[in-house]
Amino acid sequence: MFKSKYTFLLVSAGLSLVSCGGNEDKDGKTAKVVVETDNNFNSEEYDFVLPQPISLAKAFQAAGLKYTPGATNPASNKQNYQSKVKQLLNLGVYSTDLAYSAINEKSQEAREYLKAIQELGNGVGLKPVFSDKKIIEKFDKNLNNMEVIEDLIYDIQERSEEYMDDNDIRYLSVVQFAGAWVEGMYLGIKDIEQNPDSNLPVTIVDQINLLKNIVKGLKTYPTSDEVLSNVIKKLEDIQATYDNFASVKTAMESSTFVSPKLTPEEFRNLAAKIKDLRTYIVK
């Protein structure tokens, strides 16, 4: 999936000094310089584009997600995240919380999440994107103008993605997205539990389709990490659980692409696993 955009690794400069006595050796061969390159240039056969966290929030909003005070991960928890993976995951969680607050016109909450995102972003090596003081200044100037705030969120997301692409650290964005996805699902589930007749279950099922790409992306993370391994296991468990639901199997066997309608028991089962993962990420 991910390739190193430029891997012109000069693996070895096989400098063959064939002759020590001039331009030609005793057999009359010309001295040659062999520079071997390992050109790992090709993208994998299958790749994907993940949506932005604000797009997930907007999909839930369009399906009727209502703002629930206290449902998001408090911005003050940011100090609890010390490892890079935890910071990345919660950068994603806060990205969703920021979008969720902004589209629900909760500007003070959104401001707190923006500050948390800046802090975590600086911590994970995205300083060029997040250290800009003008971001928070622009936010403060437009606290009551949600259109400008949304523009700002889109701008941050785009700059962040470009920075990661340009610096061959796209694997960071997948970890971040995993946190964003889990938080979005969590907020959706919380809402469904309070409003069981909403249209949100359809959106929940739609978002499950992103899971296999998230797992694939997380597995490209270059170093082993216990938290990340556990997150991958839990995501794979969610995928396996979902795939084994009778409603999902029926939909998969159908000749048309109609999303499965989960039974209440299936939904409770799925919700419990997502909530468990969310607790693991934000604790």
Binding site: K5, Y6, F41, N42, Y46, D47, V49, P51, A62
Partner: protein, 166 residues
């Protein structure tokens, strides 16, 4: 001894020259890709930017295939922009509703994007989708397949940018 020193210097200089040339080629390639990405972003305007994917390839002798999957998470119009300006051989783009070869439906085929920028609206894809697939929901994902002709030994790429109407 002088000859050895001279030859060694020559070898080192050649090595440095090659390294620098490769690095320069790399940065100019990157610059061109960024330009094409920017052009694609212009093509999707005024839509919101959702993401992009640059598909890289090099040194394939035979025709080969690369795939990119994108989800339309919001029920709105999406726009896909492609740039084949960094592609020296024929490159066909096919857009499907799924990656499953047994069940997927072809929604759009662009015969050749070599040297061109092209944009596609999800409304056009959805219209074909509704005609070809009965009793279904809205189009929720697009599976893009590039069929690229072999024969070039250069490092090349196809750029894709996707955005949506907010």
């Amino acid at each position: 001894m002088k000859k050895i020193a001279l030859l060694s210097s020559l070898v080192v200089l050649t090595f440095l020259f090659l390294s620098t040339t490769i690095a320069d080629n790399g940065s100019s390639f990157d610059a061109r890709i960024n330009t094409y990405k920017h052009e694609c972003k212009q093509l999707i305007k005024p839509f919101r930017y959702e993401g992009s994917r640059v598909t890289y390839f090099s040194g394939q002798k035979e025709e080969f295939t690369k795939n990119v999957e994108a989800f339309l998470v919001i029920d709105t119009e999406y726009k896909f922009a492609f740039s084949g300006k960094e592609c020296s051989t024929k490159a066909m783009v096919r857009m499907y509703d799924s990656g499953d070869e047994k069940k997927r439906t072809l929604l759009k085929e662009i015969k050749n994007i070599q040297g061109k920028n092209i944009s596609v609206s999800s409304n056009d894809l959805a219209s074909v989708y509704r005609k070809k697939v009965s009793a279904t929901e809205r189009l929720k994902m697009v599976y893009i397949e590039y069929k690229i002709g072999g024969g070039s030994s250069k490092n090349e790429a196809i750029v894709m940018v996707v955005g949506y109407k907010d």
